[in-house]
């Protein structure tokens, strides 16, 4: 499929994109997370697209998944309104404060810290300690 973006034309292998997106969507809606960190590498590495086309378009693709996942979870009775009401304002506030703090810290350092933290959490979940 040919995609036009700001005067540049890109050739996109939609088979790879759709299959990857489909699998990521199953995983992310099953476990209840966004899936952005998996979608961005899929579109930049596997589809070979430049970052500037990926940021917005991947968000749009993920939005479809989140919306559908939300509806389905509600249908299966997995949604708790009170817990949602406690977390939703916190997520909004976090989304507002986050970028302000982001200006003051180095993204490399944050990512290294996150990497260590994720590994620790993962080992905990796998029952290693």
């Amino acid at each position: 499929m040919k995609v036009d973006f700001w005067g540049h034309e890109f050739e996109v292998n939609m088979w790879v994109g759709c299959l990857g997106g489909f699998l990521i969507a199953i995983m992310s809606s099953m476990f209840g997370f966004g899936g952005g960190p998996f979608m961005v590498p899929l579109m930049t590495v596997a589809l070979g697209l430049p970052m500037y086309i990926v940021v917005g378009s991947s968000l749009l693709a993920i939005f479809f998944n989140t919306a559908m996942g939300t509806v389905r979870h509600m249908q299966f009775g997995n949604f708790d309104l009170l817990l949602f009401l406690a977390m939703f304002p916190a997520a909004l506030l976090g989304g507002y404060l986050g970028p302000q703090i982001a200006k003051r810290v180095s993204p490399q350092v944050v990512k290294r810290v996150a990497c260590a933290g994720l590994l620790l959490l993962a080992l905990n979940l796998l029952g290693v300690y």
């Binding site: 995609v3 966004g34 086309i53 991947s58 939300t70 979870h73 304002p89 986050g98």
Partner: protein, 413 residues
């Protein structure tokens, strides 16, 4: 005249019922245990002492359960049946599981419970009930309404639970209810306790400990005294007498609230703070908070993984929506590409939530562990020099394009 005729059949009915009542009373054996509670209400958990008089020499069991708060419990049976060698692929679902359930057994049964604890996650509730004799007291969940579905691969693909099967008989319901109870409450210590003390005369005392974070409302306590167990080959006849049920009230006050679909009470301040910290950190590292929030929520709080996944997902809808709006304002979204891949993701999102309820909490944690390892790998890759070099160029282009887009948008206005 009319009145007289309508009274007649009623009278006949009463006369038919009357002889039955004395019979039922006659069948009841001598002395049912008495039951007294030292408190009638608790504030978000606490301890209550149950005492009374049971027949001398009887084994005394105390059953405690949340009487008016019920929760959902489900189980997917994907294990090979050792007898037939077939995988049943059945999905069991109930909405009537008591939000709290515990049986206290005589003190001398403690070694049995320790053995079950030593067996780890794979302990069998029905076996322990049998060994401790507590199956005589197992009654509240035994008659819950359980729906069973025959799941097929095709049904899973279209995201359905499968075909609803006929209702199970009493025995099958009881046996399945035990599996659901175990799946819901998991720990040996949560379901059973060995602290009923009896004196030779039959006076008993037991301490009921209700942990914090349980459902509010009415709790029922019943005492079952087993006077005799007659073994006849494989068959065991249990002679038992049951007390009337006593009850107490568990009170929970704000900010601790009861989450009906999760079946637990929780102080809302904790998830708020947790979510705030994690979403800030999520923005910094460029990954949504769900990756960290979900595993922490299921680890720290007694929340089912289905509820966690289903509740965290909608919290990001708004931020994603506003992100899309901001990008679309500067025409930074390729709709063809986004909608194209989005359609595939729509399908995936349709199937995923169905799979959440088919796995157990342990499987959820295990799979999540591996996902996080992959994510950590991706994060690390994004800090390697090669990636940074490439990213620098990309970011420069992105900035340039954004500037142009903003200018174009400004001109348009």
């Amino acid at each position: 005249m009319k009145v007289k005729f309508s009274v007649l059949p009623l009278l006949a009915l009463v006369m038919m019922v009357l002889p039955i009542i004395p019979q039922a009373q006659a069948q009841e054996t001598a002395s049912a245990p008495t039951i007294t509670l030292d408190k009638t209400s608790l504030a978000n958990g606490g301890e209550i002492t149950v005492s009374g008089q049971a027949p001398a020499g009887a084994q005394v069991y105390v059953e405690v359960y949340a009487a008016d708060k019920k929760v959902r419990a489900n189980r997917f049976d994907g294990k090979k049946d050792p007898k037939t060698g077939k995988i049943p692929y059945k999905f069991y679902l109930t909405h009537e599981m008591p939000a709290f359930y515990k049986i206290l057994v005589p003190k001398d049964m403690a070694p049995e419970l320790d053995k079950a604890k030593a067996a780890g996650k794979d302990w069998k509730y029905s076996e322990v009930l049998k060994k401790t004799g507590a199956d005589a007291a197992y009654s509240a969940p035994a008659k819950i309404m359980i729906d069973s579905y025959q799941a097929t691969i095709m049904a899973s693909i279209i995201g359905s639970r499968g075909k609803l099967l006929d209702a199970m008989d009493e025995k099958a319901t009881k046996s399945e209810s035990m599996k659901l109870v175990k799946g819901r409450f998991r720990g040996v210590g949560k379901l059973l306790g060995a602290n009923v003390e009896t004196t030779p005369t039959g006076a008993y005392t037991a301490k009921v400990t209700l942990p914090a974070g349980q459902a509010p409302g009415k709790y029922n306590v019943t005492v079952t005294a087993v006077t005799e167990r007659i073994k006849d080959g494989d068959k065991e006849t249990v002679k038992k007498v049951k007390s009337e049920s006593a009850s107490f009230e568990n009170k929970v006050s704000f900010p601790t609230v009861y989450l009906a679909s999760a079946g637990t009470s929780i102080n809302l301040i904790y998830p708020f703070i947790l979510c705030l910290c994690i979403s800030i950190f999520g923005v910094l590292m460029g990954a949504g908070g769900g990756f960290i929030l979900n595993p922490i929520l299921v680890t720290l709080f007694p929340l089912p993984h289905t509820i966690v996944a289903g509740t965290v997902m909608p919290t990001v809808l708004f931020s994603q929506g506003s992100g899309i709006y901001n990008y679309s304002k500067i025409k930074f979204i390729n709709w063809k590409l986004g909608v194209g891949i989005g359609c595939a993701m729509l399908l995936g999102g349709f199937i995923g939530p169905k799979l959440t309820e088919m796995i157990t909490l342990d499987q959820f944690k295990f799979a999540f562990g591996w996902i996080l390892i992959v994510l950590a790998g991706l994060m690390f890759w994004q800090t390697t020099p090669g990636y940074l070099e490439k990213n620098k160029k990309e970011q420069a282009i992105l900035k340039e394009f954004k500037k142009r887009a903003e200018e174009a948008a400004a001109k348009g206005n």
